[in-house]
């Protein structure tokens, strides 16, 4: 008997996984879970008419996934890492890295990636508009061109436009740390903060960005209302095993928003061009159905409408998603999972810690008594309340891709 204190879940999966031809679809409705707007009311999901999701819940098994820990509200990074089976408390992905991945920038192991915001500074150097009047993407690109003229000895700099006031700065060099404070004070009427490093490697990074930001003010002088920049989310590239290395699954991501393409790329999924609509995502899914074992489908609008506090719009977006479900089921996936990376109740206008309605549809699901898909219904489901990071174990099991543990 060997004591396996060191054995983590990924090692266990590598040991037990078995080849199969089965296909798994994970449909992530971002921020799916919700709350009633008033006592005695219904949640967004309970309000929405969802005949297709209800049918999946009736035929399959449901439960509630806890993204990180009870009471912990996850960002998009931890939320998705959990769904992908990576302990979100073990793997921490900096915002800068997510942003860089999201615009298809090939971040490397010597890089520190940082989110940038163009801002407007007053004559006194204090911020008057943190978003520089939300410039057009054209204005953004013009300003980025100016920033690209900045050179700092000893490091390579990459500046990439995102949209409106946002850009990405990547510093490539040896011995760069990411324990650097945001220079964005998140307020107007104050000057941007000076970058400082919490250790020697991070101090080197801080020195580079302080010089970069000083230069930025000069080269942006002619770009009003853009005349300065702030930086946040300093992040080095994480060490993380690929999805294929862990699960042996050839995996494709069909997402519209850069952030979620980035998260999928982080774990080594193929990032497919799925267009800009749910329909184009579904068309792409059908087109590449034969080429992959695992499909990550990301739907953003259940989260964005929740963040807007727009209850009726979130209900509508849930119903739009429900209407697209037959485009998936007609492909007859062996395992279809519908879940979310976290809850985003319209009432709170933000992500929340509430567990996420989750369903698994497969031939060998153990039936429960649930006949609809909602927060309340999932409380009675066969999956109970479970850690999101165990969802991939269930996906692999229902797909017949995990052998027996021990004799």
């Amino acid at each position: 008997m060997r004591k396996l204190f060191t054995m983590n879940t990924h090692d266990l999966i590598r040991e037990l996984r078995e080849p199969a031809k089965t296909k798994i679809v994970m449909l992530v409705a971002d921020g799916l879970g919700g709350l009633p707007m008033a006592p005695g009311g219904l949640t967004e999901l309970e309000t929405a008419r969802t005949p297709n999701l209800d049918a999946l819940a009736r035929e399959g098994t449901v439960g509630l996934s806890v993204p990180v820990l009870p009471g912990i509200t996850p960002g998009s990074g931890p939320g998705h890492l959990g769904l992908f089976g990576y302990d979100p408390l073990e793997y921490r992905i900096g915002r800068g890295i997510l942003e860089a991945l999201g615009i298809n920038f090939a971040v490397g192991s010597k890089d520190v990636a940082i989110r940038g915001n163009f801002c407007t500074l007053g004559a006194d150097g204090k911020i008057t508009d943190r978003r520089a009047g939300r410039p057009t993407n054209e204005k953004n690109r013009a300003a980025v061109e100016k920033l690209r003229t900045i050179k700092i000895p000893g490091v390579e700099l990459f500046v990439e436009p995102v949209k409106e006031h946002r850009f990405v700065l990547v510093i490539r060099g040896d011995g760069l740390g990411d324990r650097v404070n945001d220079t964005d004070p998140q307020a107007v009427g104050v000057t941007p903060l000076k970058a400082e490093g919490a250790d020697a490697a991070s101090a080197k990074t801080a020195d580079v960005v302080n010089r970069f930001l000083a230069e930025a003010v000069k080269v942006l002088a002619s770009e009003a209302p853009i005349n300065g920049a702030t930086l946040r989310g300093f992040a080095t590239y994480p060490k993380i095993a690929t999805f294929e290395n862990v699960y042996g699954l050839k995996s494709a991501a069909l997402a519209v928003y850069p952030m979620y393409k980035g998260l999928a790329r982080l774990v080594g999924m193929d990032i497919l061009d799925a267009g800009q609509t749910l329909q184009s995502q579904m068309d792409k899914l059908a087109a590449v159905w034969g080429d992959y074992d695992f499909f990550f489908l990301h739907y953003k609008y259940t989260d964005s409408t929740g963040e807007d506090g727009n209850f009726p719009a979130k209900v509508e977006m849930i119903e739009k998603l429900d209407a697209a479900v037959p485009d998936i089921t007609k492909l007859k996936p062996d395992v279809l999972i519908v879940t979310g990376d976290h809850s985003t109740p319209s009432k709170m206008k933000s992500h929340s810690w509430h567990p996420v309605p989750t369903l698994i549809h497969a031939d060998n699901c153990r039936p429960d008594e649930v006949i609809g898909f909602s927060e309340r219904a999932c409380l009675h489901g066969g999956l109970g309340q479970f850690q999101a990071q165990h969802l991939m174990l269930l996906a692999m099991a229902h797909a017949g891709r995990l052998g027996k543990y021990g004799a």
Copy 2:
């Protein structure tokens, strides 16, 4: 499934346990959990008429136990270790030990146990049949007798027949390791592999088996088609704290099948001769009732019928078990637990990952609304879904054998 404190659970139990006169019965229906054969159907347990188990569920509290982790299908070893309160990911039992336990060989702390296969070798020493034509058990025993004539100085050798081409070799001696490669190349047309040890102690074991296998070819010369042997699954006796050491319980195992007697012996339970029938097990239970604190009752047929894919037979075996329950309750155990080591759905003809219906019957159970014993009913039980390795904590608590943690 994250460890929440550095102290392990066994140390905690040793610290908190209190002497008591209470008696605990754990009735393990192997492979108890199941699935419907077709959508909309009932599971084996839901189909079976189980008035006695239903009464226990109504009076007690129920839930679903997760043997290892969600989605992980356990073998008998990990399944039972979990029920006994040993983390199945921390303790792993080598194949050779399980094989020896399975034929009721009393493996000891100085033993290395190994699975053996009789094979047929060509004149060039290459394997022509890895199973020597699947000999009869009589042929097997005759060949085993020949192997028993082999002597290696410095160690004691035990050769035991299993069935057909399989036997068990146990090497007893000081400082023997088990990090030895299988000599079975798992292919024909090649010679058996030479055993090599990955450390000094294992090199000693390898030297013994290489000499044993050289002798085997000589003594088996007259046993054609058996004329050689291969070895695999080298395993030393596990270092594992006994049940009594952890729980302070004087414990007895009443099992019919050697494998389960072996697993109970592994944790130091007394292995009683309980005969070959459920009735003889119950008679033995009554006979020794005064002599022990904890009784492990193993019932095999819920698993074997499930493995056969024989749904009606599994239903019948569940009903037979239910009929025997009064033989237990009439003894008035303070805590009666009914559970399984894993699910074995007839539909899948194999072990599965699905959580296992579990009930605890005791004076101080908190009541739930469940009035019957089934997979679906247990979803609404007071125990919720819990890790099997925590079941013994609940057993000890309900038996009044665990004191308060902290002031």
